[in-house]
Structures are given as C-alpha cells and as structure tokens.
Symmetry: C2
Subunit: 338 residues, 2 copies
C-alpha cells in the first residue's frame, strides 16, 4: 500500500481522443486531516463516458475540470481516519473521490455509505448498484416506461448502463433487443443476460439484423450511442415511441458536434417523445432504484458484467476502452485491496 498519494491532474484538454499528454501524475504525501475532515483510501475508480464530458470546456450539467485540478471521477474506498461527524473510521463509501489514491472530504453529503451485500463484490456499488445501474433504472422505469409486449432497443447494450437497462426492460415484460459491437458481446446479451435478440454493430449487415430483430418496430429506444446507429433506430420507431436520451458516446471524442439525426423529421411524424436525462436530476428515485436492483442482485436475478483493469497508473489509458468498445459491462480500475 502506497505511502504516497498519487493523483492524476488534467494537464491539457484533449482535442479528440484522450492521449498521453492529457493527464499528468503527481505524488505527494498522504494528507493529514484536520477537524471536519475525513480521509478515504481509494479502492476502486469508476470509468464512465461522463469523464470525457467533464474535461470538455463547454457549458454542461457540471462545470468542467480545470487545468491543474485532480481529475474528477467516482470511486469507492474505505474511511481510514475521520474527524468529521458524518463519517466513521472503517466505513465503506462511494462518491466523487477523484483520480487519486487518497481523498480528503469535508462535505457530509458528498460520499454515500455502502451497504455490503453478501456474495456481491463491492465494485458493484460503482456499477449495477451505483450511478450506472441507477441511470439504467430511472431511464427505463420512469422515462422509457415499456409496456409488456413492446419492443425496446438498447444501444451499447453490453456496456455498464445498457446491460442493466436491457435486463430491467425484460423484467417489465418487454421484448428487448441489444445493439453491441462484436459477436462475443452479442452472445453475452442473448445467452447470459436474457436479451431476446442482439444486433452486431460490427457486422456488415447490422441494419438488416436490426430490421429482423424488430419486426414490429421499436417502441422504446434507450439511446447511449448516437450517430448512424441512432439514425437506423429512429427509422424504425413506432407511433408514440419514447427515446430515452441517455448518452451519445459515438461523438464524445469529436471536436466538432456531429450532424444531428438525418431522420429527425420522424420525431414529428411519428409523434415521438424524446427526453434527455442525467440521473443526478432524479436523486429522489435513488432509493427505489437501489432497493429493486439490490433485491434482484441478491436473488441472483440480475447479471452483472464488469471489466476490471488492475492498477491506478492505468487510468488514462483504460478510459479509452469505453470509446473503443473493448470493455464489457462496468469498467473499473482496481487501485488497492481492502
């Protein structure tokens, strides 16, 4: 266990893809805490498409990370020392720890205690029981609202959000079609996660696969990707379809915004409801989401996919797995053992 605190700070905003010059690693002594502070040892760091948005210098739902600041990121760790009444030593917590091995917090509401579930790895609290699971649950339950028998399409379906979103839709009685890159991911969707069909984005005939998998059109698009995949999904939307606009990862590295959907007019002629959403707007639903997902997880009724990258120093390269599509399920970096 490191006696120094290694931290990645933002060195320059990437134009396009995150590269070797984007972050710089510093180390410093492990901080001493003063009255009103708690010290957390980072164990896991969550890598999310949102990380890419946070270092973009444009107005968004949170201010961008500034040059020279520690990179923003969600993590999970254990409180190792506390002079803050809200935190007690030994407690496992999740929250915006940042890309650092040790984090000091002064804010009582910032970190959430983790209720460990027997047989469930703690990293699930960054995935299916964390922000991504909660995103999937709110988006599908409150916004997409699939009815039994309806057809739901989930893009980036083997990703952290998509893999949970599709399973939720299945449990609500919908027919669920996942779009993912590669035959292995597609097999995972249908064989392990119970999706009704999968469309291989890397196959030459992916459009035909999508048509074959959605013979009655599409009632709910849980959209994580954008670009030409979204265009193809839009073309098959049914009357009064819902688009849960959760992510547009295909363009997150683009310098210029990409062209919008070619068939935007379909949203009018088919009377589609499209709702952009950020889970942070739905704090009041967190309890319900975590309760239902925890129940399924404890009962073995929810499959959790996870890709673990070993070692703090690999954060800046591991993040590109999200954009290359090389991760399956939740992408986490393991920083330290318990």
């Amino acid at each position: 266990m490191s006696e120094r605190n290694r931290r990645f700070v933002l060195r320059e905003r990437p134009s396009g893809r995150i590269g070797p010059g984007t972050f710089e690693m510093f180390d410093e002594p492990v901080p001493n805490i003063v009255e009103g502070e708690a010290l957390v040892r980072t164990q896991w760091i969550s890598l999310d498409p949102a990380n890419r948005g946070w270092i973009r210098d444009v107005p968004s739902y949170v201010p961008p990370v500034e040059i020279g600041e520690v990179m923003r990121g969600l993590g999970l760790g254990r409180v190792v020392a506390s002079k803050h009444p809200a935190y007690r030593e030994g407690q496992l917590v999740t929250g915006p720890l940042g890309w650092q091995e040790w984090a000091v917090t002064r804010d009582a509401a910032l970190l959430q205690p983790v209720n460990e579930i027997a047989g469930v790895p703690v990293s699930a609290h960054l995935g299916a029981l964390g922000m991504t699971g909660w995103t999937a649950w709110v988006g599908m339950t409150d916004i997409g609202r699939p009815r039994p028998g309806e057809t739901v399409v989930v893009s980036a379906a083997a990703g952290a959000v998509g893999s949970v979103a599709g399973q939720i839709a299945r449990r609500r009685g919908a027919r669920v079609v996942g779009i993912a890159g590669g035959r292995d991911k597609c097999a995972l969707l249908t064989e392990r996660l119970g999706f009704d069909a999968a469309v291989d984005r890397q196959a030459g005939d992916w459009r035909e696969q999508l048509a074959a998998a959605t013979p009655e059109g599409i009632d709910v698009d849980f959209e994580n990707v954008g670009g030409e995949v979204m265009d193809a999904v839009f073309a098959r939307l049914n009357l009064r379809a819902r688009v849960v606009l959760c992510g547009l990862i295909s363009a997150y590295n683009d310098v210029e915004p990409p062209p919008g959907p070619r068939n935007f007019r379909i949203l009018l002629t088919r009377r589609v409801r499209l709702q952009g959403f950020i889970v942070l707007d739905h704090l009041e639903r967190r309890g319900d989401a975590v309760a239902e997902l925890s129940g399924w997880l404890a009962a073995g009724e929810l499959e959790v996919l996870e890709t673990v990258v070993e070692g703090f120093e690999r954060l800046p390269t591991a993040i590109n797995m999200l954009f290359d599509g090389t991760n399956v399920g939740k992408l986490v970096v393991h920083v330290a053992d318990d």
Copy 2:
C-alpha cells in the same frame, strides 16, 4: 356559381417545389347524390403545410394522396342537399372537402357543423377556431406548458399556428418571442399580437436579435420551422426546456431529408423534453380548445391574421406562399360566396 364541379387531382409527385405539372384541373357535372349522401358547396379551402406532406410518397400519419386522386384539403362549405341523417340542408360544415368546388360525403363523422359567432368571419373556422388554432392550443397548453415568467420562442410566428400559439403563451403569463421573416411581420407580432419581442429571420443579425430577445434563455420552443433557426434556438434552451415539435416547414420541399440539428447533444446535456405531435392525436381536447379560443375571439382578446386568395383556380400556386413565407396568418382560398 359554377354549375360544373372543378377539381384538382394530383398529376405527379413534385420533386421539390410544387409546380405547374403537379396538379391538373378537371371539371365534371355537379354530382347527384343518392340515399346516404350529402352534397356540400365549397366556400373556403384551407392551405396548410400538411398539404405538402400528403403528396409525398412516404409513410406518414395518413396515407399519401394517390396519383389521379382529388387533392386532399380542409375546407368549409354549406350542405346544399342531404340524403344523410347526419347532415341537414343549409348547415355550414368544415372538414376534408378536398380541392373541389362540390363535395359528396357519405361519412357521418367526417364533417363538423360550424357554430357561427357574431362578428367573426366564417373562415376563422379554418384558422384560429379550426385545425391550426386547435394545433396551437394543444401544443402550447398540453405539451409546452409555459409557466408565468418563462420565455417561449415561436418560429413561423406570423403563420397560422404560430400567431395563435404565441398569443396563448402570452395569456398564460409567459414572455413570448416570435421569429418571422421580414420587418412587417415582426412589427405585426409586437404591435398587433402583443408579442414581447420579434426576431427578423431575414435580417443579417437575426442570431444576435434572438440572443438579445432571450437574455434568460429559452424554456419552450414551439417549433414550426426546423433548420438553422431551430439550431439557434436549441443552442439557447434552458435546463429542462420543452420543444413542441409541431412542424419543420423549412424542409418540406427538400428531396433528401436535411441534416438533423447540429446541437442535438444539447437535448441530452440540458435534459430537454421534445415531443412530436399531430393534433389529430388529441381529438379529446378539441372541445376545450375551441371553447377557450372562441371565448377569447368573441371578447376581442385574440387577434386573427388571415391571407385570402381569391379564386379556386389559384390553389396550386397559392400553396407555395406557405413555403415562400408570403402569407400572413391563415392562408385560405375563397372559392364561392355563401
């Protein structure tokens, strides 16, 4: 009064703009009715952007008009003979009479009786009290739902739908900004219709005008136009804004669909709700819409704009006024006196 029945039939689908070869005029004897039919003398024909969509050979909310069929269109006329229990002689009715001087109907539910209001021209039943007024009312009241003090932007604001939509938003206590082409239309919006500000789409500085007119951003976009105007409006949407997607007239003559909105991503980051709608889905609100609009009209609290083109034979040229923006308010063709 013509003793022949002139009718325009669809001759060929226009690629782009409606031209001299699009429709062909025929005449035939005024039809005799048989048991179960009623004969209506057309007085007014409504010209609407929807006409353009109806002759496009793509799936939409209604089947396209077929080659050789009488052009579909809403109209207003008087029942001159009836052998149908639902219609009585002398009754004024509105509905899909088509582009013809006389129409025979067999369908009891097709035409609605008109309740004339003293001092209000009957053509208002094709505009503010007809489909376009009802569209404005449903879109603003049920979908846009502006709250007092919010900023509402209406594109094509001097058009049939926009001019009513903006006035409704004003009556709900919102700050209303209209976008229209030309200084005369803009003056009409602020001086006669009570809009808080107007943006002249034909001015070189229209983007700056839009920014100046919406210093606190935009909460509701009542979208009738699409294209670069919509892009500029999207860029100024506030968190949790609503887009009432009512029309995309800028592209109705396009052969290929135009690029979608450049800043589509804003719908995600600002958590926008966008709803495509067609008023025909909201039949249950027609009574409420007409009741409120009639009340305002009778009380002189709703300004009605209308452009009247004289003569049945001018239908195929008059329709292009909608796309050229040369009409103000509801565009109607006067076919015959009462």
